[in-house]
Amino acid sequence: MDPARIGPIRERAAEWADLQGTQSLVLLVARHGVICLHEAWGALTYRDGSPPIGTAALFHCSSLAKSVTATAAMILAEEGLLSLTRPVNYYIPELTGAGTQDMLVQQLLTHTAGYDGETLPDALAAWLSEPRTFPDCPATQHPHLHRELQALYPQDLAHPPGTLMSYCNTGYDLLGEVVRRVSGVSFADFVAQRIFVPLGMGESFFGLHSGQRDRFAERDADVPADSQFRDRDSYRRLVEIPFPSGGLFATAADYAIFAQMYLNGGSYGSRRILGKASVAQMTRNQIPGIPAEFLGLHPEADWGYGFGIISDDRWRMFDGSLPPNGGFGHSGLGGTAFWVDPLNDLIAIYFSVCGLDEERVEHIWQFDLFQNLVTAAVADKA
């Protein structure tokens, strides 16, 4: 990396941390496996007298969880325990909603199962607001997720599977349930045993425990945001739930190991998590020709298995302009994001706690600018 271009990243980061709406910020950049930037700015929490943040802070990674959940599914696929082209109801027979019999596992991975991601949460809440009886929560499942899944099973699809990408959190919770049933252990345990422990990601957890709160970059849930973060009490309970769709808590350094594993083609150090074929399938566009409905219609969704794929269509306020096509990554509600750039052999992590501009429905974040700064710092060989 060009040493002269690392300074501007630090300067911008300090400016961003000063901006109203950015509470906490940790950045990590590594090229050829060498970390050339790993720094923190801002406060740890929203509270008066909050300690300054350090690089060891735990962030609510939100949807960056989905890349991990997808990894879990692929591990089972590699072991011959899961087929992506089988219908989801092969693994979860309780699905009864209209159209769900045609829903395939791979469509959960690409958000093309047919659920309407925007209206589904309200439908689930409405179902749960009525008196219901359903089976007891299995020992390896979390009660909140169990209830959410019970509400999901009778829901009709909004679209035929495989026709439209509609970003859907619950679809990944359903995928996590597939992982639980096929593996026989809790989703959080499976991920810990098969991904976090082998990779040495000791600071990554699905569901936050009370002992971790002192290093948690906690947001003020009174800040206008998505309906999930309704108020501080709701948020405090929410973070304890190991949502496969968004309940991941990790440090930037840990997530960088995970990203580097993908850059390496599936292994890190002496541990192989996935084979090259799986990584190739996950990090290419699996839904060519299928559009995405997200703040307007994108003719090509460009999504892999657990990752968005960087392509010609650079999304408003999300995408930088300089990273080359073929990169892949994910972003998370509340201000987390990362990407892998195979062409330049680099990974970069942007963990922040930032606000949402409700009017624009946009993060008040600078991830797009960060992508440009980092890519501009890539140095040629002389």
Binding site: D2, D312, L322, P323, P324, Q366, A376
Partner: protein, 391 residues
């Protein structure tokens, strides 16, 4: 990293006889009745093997001869420079191309303008095409309505047209159709001014012209240029010559107000050909230059002065595919070459693969790029140079 220097055709990688043929053609082209004067420059891998002038500097009877250091009114050759200036801010993490334009210019209030992203300005796909924009700005300025005070960093004609563009409805929706329009780049210049906190022309001078050693280049006409200025009669090229000079060509207009010499522009072009660096100076990185030079309008149709075209465009650069743009491409350049032209004919191209830079500065009195009726030789010049490349 290629340093620019003079050399022989052989040193540059050209067939010497074919370079000599270009000299013959240059003399012939200068004799055509609609061409006042002409300067050509050919370089490969940073070695300039031809830099020559023919004809007269101006249309006056006592005009001195055209010279290789004559200063041309470069009009839209401003746009690649403005695009590069924007990319400098992108690399600095100060400008996001996927951000809405109203993030940087909150006064933007024309109908539909909330959908305009900064990247749409670079590709003329925001909806501020020339015909509509010029009509709108003329009406707005002539209406005599009171405008906010002119900022100290803006020339009044630029301020006036900006205020007009802020109210202009975009048509059609951003990102759906390319309609070439200077307003796109005037707005981009204003974004650069606001982010940098400097006059646009000062930003370009300090971040581009000075590091690149482009000593004879500037936005906006200055009287000091007069002795070397290749002045031409614009009567046949624009409707109102005085207004055109005041608002566009002689103003520090980010879309059309550049002045310079072939040698200077060749340095800018060579920087692009090198992937962002020249003579040890890094202006941009490879990724930024790469984005400037790739097709940023895939699948988007083009309306070029009322005609439907199919063509590629980068950020601030015309981009050739296998067939190129009619009149602008001679047929021999391979896909991936980039180019731009301006009113009156000044043009350049970069062939990254072959390392070739060609600069064609001409004062053509009957040139009207808008109608496609081009009485110039830029396409022929490309063919001559491309045919001279030897390995």
């Amino acid at each position: 990293m290629t340093n620019m220097r003079e050399g022989t055709p052989e040193e540059a990688g050209f067939d010497a006889e074919r370079i000599e043929l270009i000299r013959q053609r240059g003399a012939q082209w200068a004799e055509q009745s609609n061409t006042q004067g002409l300067v050509l420059l050919v370089a490969r891998n940073g070695v300039i093997c031809l830099e020559e002038a023919w004809g007269d500097l101006t249309g006056e009877p006592d005009s001195p001869p055209m010279n290789t250091d004559s200063i041309f009114m470069l009009a839209s050759l401003a746009k690649p420079v403005t695009a590069a200036a924007a990319m400098i801010l992108v690399e600095d993490g100060l400008l996001g191309l996927t951000r809405p334009l109203n993030y940087y210019i909150p006064e933007l209030r024309g109908e539909g303008s909330e959908e305009v992203l900064v990247q749409h300005l670079l590709t003329h796909t925001a909806g501020y095409g020339d015909e509509r924009a010029i009509a709108h700005a003329t009406d707005y300025i002539m209406s005599g309505q009171e405008l906010p005070p002119c900022p100290e960093q803006l020339a009044l004609p630029i301020h006036q047209q900006l205020e007009a563009y802020y109210t202009m409805p975009v048509e059609p929706g951003p990102g759906t159709l390319m309609v070439y329009g200077i307003a796109h780049y005037v707005l981009l210049g204003e974004v650069i001014r606001r982010i940098s906190g400097m006059k646009f022309e000062d930003f370009v001078r300090t971040r581009l012209f000075e590091p690149l050693g482009m000593r004879d280049s500037a936005f906006g006409y200055d009287d000091s240029m007069q002795p070397r200025f290749a002045e031409m009669d614009l009567t046949n090229l624009v409707d109102d010559v005085e207004l055109a000079k005041q608002y566009t060509f002689f103003a520090p207009n980010a879309g059309g107000g550049l002045f310079g010499t072939v040698g200077d522009y060749a340095r800018f072009a060579q920087m692009l050909a090198n992937g962002g660096t020249l003579d040890g100076q890094r202006i941009l990185g490879r990724a930024a230059v790469g984005q400037m030079m790739r097709n940023q309008i895939p699948g988007i149709p083009v309306d070029f002065a009322g005609r439907e075209y199919r063509g590629n465009w980068g950020y601030g650069l015309m981009l050739f595919d296998e067939q190129g743009w009619p009149w602008f491409h001679g047929g021999l350049l391979a896909a991936g070459c980039v180019s731009h032209s301006g009113v009156g004919g000044p043009s350049f191209w970069v062939d990254r693969e072959q390392g070739v830079v060609g600069v064609y500065f001409v004062t053509c009195l009957d040139l009207d790029a808008n109608t496609g009726d081009l009485r110039w030789d830029f396409d022929l010049f490309q063919n001559l140079v491309t045919a001279a490349v030897i390995d």
